[in-house]
């Protein structure tokens, strides 16, 4: 196999998964394990007057019941991001509620039992006396108290540059919008799970069922539990989806570890779907007041946005990353001379929020692209033309978005040819004929229209990741990374990168990830950085192994190293396949520690290298939607959806396509179906799959992917950019534009998701 990088080779991960031999969190069992059930608050906001655990403890099979007073030495779940921000610390979530509960689902007590049924029986017998308090349900409600003397507005964060005031004063036209994004989240097929085990013989505390950012979570858990770095390890098994929400440290992870250590027995907790929909991180809910100034030709002069960010009940591990991400790339692919944004981060008595795939970006793209559509309507311009006119050009690259605020991270865009992608998108959809065709159908009474959402992404945030690679005497390769696999094809893509650099069949490469006892560092799988960071680390390491192999082979084959090539694991002279050769396995044997031939070479055919960067990468995309609306029922059918995306360079186009299609469908969920609604008392209304409506195959079109590689990143040797979030980012924006077009009412959509009932209301407004 000559060329494997960039090829859509089959996934290495699949055989166990498609033959039912996968091992997910629920499949992990240890002898003598206990099962944990969490008693959760039924109220959105209440004082805990008392908790009586006697009846539960008296039930046969119940091993223990904990409340906050049983774990006085364990602090709240610590921040991973924004750790230095003192202002956030009072808002962290206790592992078990102390004195007050702040959302329906807030953990109040933990029951440990011999089996999961008994654990639920015991949980029902824990008697908690609550005194209800008024709940803050809307982010626009008057501010209240999180705790005595601590308000519910956590922070007001500004991002700005340029003179917006002057720009608005001089504008030819100003558009102003009031927009809402609904609360939804990543809902992986596998719910969370955590199995704590204390290995007393080795004095190591183990967390199984971990995911996403194991090394970072290890740091958090060490701090919280007072363990030494060598005395706590995390283990990832198969993971049935993450999407940003799975694999953060949650109260349950801390509980199973503390209990395993105290009881001396393994403790297993598997989240049920009902819990998942109440307790796992949610996201997206923001209320924006945005405006934009344009000149007479539709050129953007300035953008302004103030928004309320619904953080839910606590600040979780991500700190205030989401509102920051909403603001930092708000201006998108456009040249915006002046910009001013302000985030009000507010707590409500609802499930806490954090990052969900394209965090902050989905929201920002909805708002920005709504502004573009509104400006086009106001000026009587074509929505595509106004966008084209404002695109940052290829000649302007690299392009820097520098903010006035010293703590705001500047956007240093590495590369991009946005106009080219727009041309390619329009050519792909056949816009020259599709546009008139849609107009003709509308003229015949159909409610059908197209919308577009253009967006900038950022990924590959460093600063550093490493890898270790070793070739064994059979010529098989082990690549040890600190990456994580959430189902995205991590093993395959890392194997491809290694195979290409080293010259071996990618199927002979075993990729290790998600085991903190195998490698002391790792960037995990988050914020679209795995392929860029870990991929380039694997690349650098594979090149080092290759250099060592060639060095030794040159000696053995008596040939200068630069005349040697490695293909399919065998070193030969260039152009002489039949001449003298040596396999990588033989070289590994030659380099064995006890080998008599090794001479001065360091033992083993292996290497450890790092990829360091202070730069990030900026992939970009265009989403294009065609919708058809049933005027009577309000049903919105998505006839076509195109994801055009420049990934710089695709390690495996099939895997990138999978990422983009999956993300797109989640985006359609947020645009049309999924919503974590709450009643006026803060009771969640979507706690089963009958109420939280994820789109199924019946609701979505065959998503068309237009993957381009026109703007490789100059910031890493492979030129790759990130792919995890490009499928979802602009979906809300494109669907909103398409609905407006279908009902010939610019600016109609001001809120996501557009349920059929809301659609009917828009249609009634239109008739009125």
């Amino acid at each position: 196999m000559d060329k494997v990088l960039g090829q859509s080779v089959p996934r290495l991960e699949d055989p166990p998964l498609i033959t039912g031999r996968g091992r997910f969190a629920a499949d992990i069992n240890f002898p003598h394990q206990l099962h944990m059930r969490v008693v959760r608050s039924p109220h959105a906001h209440a004082e805990i007057r008392s908790i009586d655990t006697q009846e539960a403890l008296a039930l046969p099979g119940i091993h223990g019941v904990w409340t906050a007073s049983d774990i006085p030495d364990i602090g709240p779940v610590d921040l991973r991001a924004d750790r230095a921000a003192e202002v956030l610390k009072p808002y962290r979530q206790p592992v078990l509620a102390k004195g007050r509960v702040r959302y329906v689902g807030d953990p109040v007590a933990a029951v440990f039992a011999e089996d999961p049924y008994l654990a639920e029986d015991g949980a029902e017998l824990v008697a908690v006396d609550y005194a209800e308090l008024p709940a803050i349900v809307s982010v626009d409600d008057p501010l209240g108290e999180f705790a005595p003397g601590v308000g519910t507005e956590v922070a007001i964060i500004p991002y700005s540059y340029g003179d917006t005031e002057a720009a608005f004063a001089a504008a030819h036209a100003v558009v102003e919008l009031d927009l809402l994004t609904g609360r939804h989240s990543g809902v992986p097929m596998e719910t969370r799970g955590a199995i704590g085990r204390y290995d007393a013989a080795k004095d190591i505390l183990e967390l199984h069922g971990a995911a996403k950012v194991l090394h970072r979570n290890k740091e958090t858990l060490i701090r919280m539990l007072g363990r030494k770095p060598s005395g706590l390890h995390l283990y990832e098994s198969h993971v049935g989806g993450g999407f940003g929400i799975r694999g953060e440290v949650y109260p349950e992870d801390v509980l199973v570890l503390a209990a395993a250590q105290r009881f001396g027995r393994p403790v297993k907790w598997i989240e049920d779907r009902h819990e998942h929909l109440m307790c796992a991180n949610q996201g997206r809910q923001q209320h924006h007041w945005a405006r934009m100034a344009v000149d007479a030709e539709g050129r953007i002069l300035a953008m302004e946005d103030t928004f309320h960010h619904d953080q839910g009940a606590y600040i979780r591990t991500h700190g205030v990353v989401v509102p920051n991400l909403t603001m930092c790339l708000f201006t998108g692919l456009y040249r915006v001379p002046a910009y001013r944004a302000r985030a009000h981060v507010r707590l409500t008595n609802k499930t806490p929020c954090a990052t969900y795939r394209a965090p902050g970006r989905y929201e920002a793209s909805f708002v920005r692209e709504r502004l573009m559509d509104a400006a086009a309507a106001k000026l009587g311009m074509d929505p595509i033309e106004i966008r084209r006119r404002n695109l940052i050009t290829k000649a302007e690259m690299p392009y820097t978005i520098a903010f006035d605020e010293p703590e705001a991270k500047d956007g240093e865009i590495d590369s991009g040819d946005y106009a080219l992608l727009l041309d390619k998108t329009l050519a792909h959809v056949g816009w020259d004929s599709l546009g008139p065709e849609l107009a003709r159908r509308r003229a015949q009474g159909e409610l059908v229209g197209a919308g577009i959402g253009m967006f900038l992404e950022e990924g590959g945030l460093g600063p550093s990741d490493g890898a270790r690679i070793a070739v064994d005497t059979e010529g098989d390769v082990e690549v040890i990374t600190g990456g994580a696999s959430l189902g995205q094809g991590f093993e395959t893509s890392m194997a491809q990168i290694c195979a290409e650099a080293l010259g071996v069949d990618y199927r002979r490469i075993r990729v290790i990830h998600g085991q903190t006892d195998r490698i002391p560092y790792g960037i995990g799988a988050h914020a679209a950085r795995t392929t860029v960071m870990t991929g380039n680390a694997v690349h650098a390491t594979a090149l080092a192994v290759r250099a060592k192999a060639l060095d030794v082979a040159s000696e053995i084959l008596q040939t200068p190293g630069d005349e040697l090539v490695i293909a399919d694991g065998t070193v030969t002279r260039r152009g002489r396949a039949t001449g003298p050769s040596i396999t990588l396995g033989e070289i590994a044997a030659f380099l064995a520690p006890a080998s008599k031939n090794r001479g001065a070479h360091a033992p083993g055919l292996n290497a450890e290298e790092f990829f360091n960067t202070t730069e990030t990468v900026f992939p970009y995309g265009i989403h294009f939607a065609v919708v058809r609306i049933d005027e009577e029922t309000g049903h919105v059918a998505v006839e076509r959806f195109v994801v055009a995306y420049d990934v710089g360079r695709a390690v495996n186009p099939m895997l990138v396509e999978g990422q983009l299609v999956g993300g797109c469908i989640q985006g359609l969920g947020g645009a049309l179906y999924e919503e974590f609604a709450y009643d006026p008392h803060g009771q969640p209304l979507a706690v089963t799959f009958a109420d939280y409506l994820m789109p199924t195959a019946a609701e979505v079109p065959d998503v068309e992917v237009l993957l381009t590689e026109d703007a490789p990143s100059p910031h890493n040797p492979l030129g790759i950019k990130s792919a995890g979030e490009g499928g979802i980012n602009g979906v809300g924006a494109a669907i909103a534009g398409a609905i407006d077009a279908a009902i010939s009412t610019p600016g109609a959509v001001t809120q996501l998701p557009v349920s059929p009932q809301r659609m009917r209301e828009l249609l009634r407004d239109r008739q009125a």
Binding site: Y117, E124, D272, H274, E632, Y673, D679, A698, Q757, R760
Partner: protein
């Protein structure tokens, strides 16, 4: 989502089932047929029956037959049994079409027609069929057998005329006249979701006008029911948009729809009106052959 403890009884005959049920009914004993509604409710511990009487092993309850002009559906006949028409003509075809709207394929392999009636969810397709087509429901207990008309059987949300110690053993639907035309339309958020509203209609034609019109609406109110004002707007009229619009308007006027957090009464009323008309249009098209 682990159910509370319960005692499981596997009945081998209807007599044994009702005898056991009589014994355990005071302790929240429940019949287990397909379990597609009951078991999830138990998993949430919203239902905590102390006894389950499993009737799946009773062979005679799996009986699905057409004889003497009557379609008989035993207590254990699955939704999937209707994937293909169970009888010639419009009735078999419409039941097949309706079955396709029930949940998803695996659910239809397990859930039962009679179980849907006993559950009496307002959005149940089979409850709408039972009411609109005047089904007769047979209940049995140690006290004997009795029959209940479909319209009397379903009394409200999850409320039926069935006593705690009664087993719904069979539903019977009289075969309609061969020239009867049927139409059904439903709206749900996603394929397989509970309907927000649905309409089942039938009528016969003679001399170019409709008669014996039936029009039932489900999903909109707390239980499905026929709308006599709409039926009156059809009888004696030629099929066509004028009569269909009038019947649909009568539906909208007659309904007192449910409201919930996500769905207003107005929206449900609009849906019911639209679906009544669409069901009528499809009936007009269906057996035009």
């Amino acid at each position: 989502m682990k159910p509370a403890a319960f005692e499981y009884h596997a009945a081998r005959s209807v007599e044994e089932a009702v005898a056991t049920l009589a014994e355990v009914a005071p302790d929240q004993g429940r019949i287990l047929a397909g379990g597609q509604s009951l078991v999830p409710t138990m998993a949430f511990r919203l239902a905590t029956p102390e006894h389950l009487v499993d009737i799946n092993g009773i062979e005679e309850l799996g009986r699905l037959a057409v004889e003497d002009g009557v379609l008989s559906i035993g207590a254990c006949v699955r939704h999937a049994a209707f994937h293909r028409p169970v009888t010639d003509g419009g009735l078999g075809a419409i039941l097949t079409f309706m079955a396709g709207h029930i949940g998803h394929y695996p659910i239809r392999q397990r859930g039962t027609f009679c179980g849907s009636l006993a559950q009496a969810d307002p959005s149940s397709e089979w409850c709408l069929a039972a009411v609109t087509l005047d089904a007769t429901i047979t209940a049995q207990s140690t006290r004997g057998r009795r029959t209940i008309a479909g319209a009397d059987f379903i009394q409200g949300i999850m409320t039926t005329a069935l006593e705690d110690d009664e087993l719904l053993v069979e539903t019977r639907i009289a075969l309609p006249a061969a020239d009867t035309r049927f139409g059904f339309a439903e709206f749900s958020r996603r394929a397989g979701d509970f309907a927000l509203a649905m309409a089942l209609v039938s009528f016969r034609l003679s001399g170019g006008v409709m008669h014996d019109a039936r029009l039932g609406i489900g999903g909109a109110e707390d239980h499905p029911r026929r709308i006599p004002q709409a039926e009156a707007a059809l009888d004696g009229q030629p099929p066509g948009s004028q009569a269909f619009e009038a019947a649909a308007a009568a539906v909208a006027a007659a309904l007192d729809p449910m409201e919930d957090a996500g769905t207003s009464a107005q929206y449900r009323r609009e849906l019911a009106q639209c679906l009544a008309r669409r069901a009528l249009e499809s009936a007009a098209e269906s057996a035009a052959a």
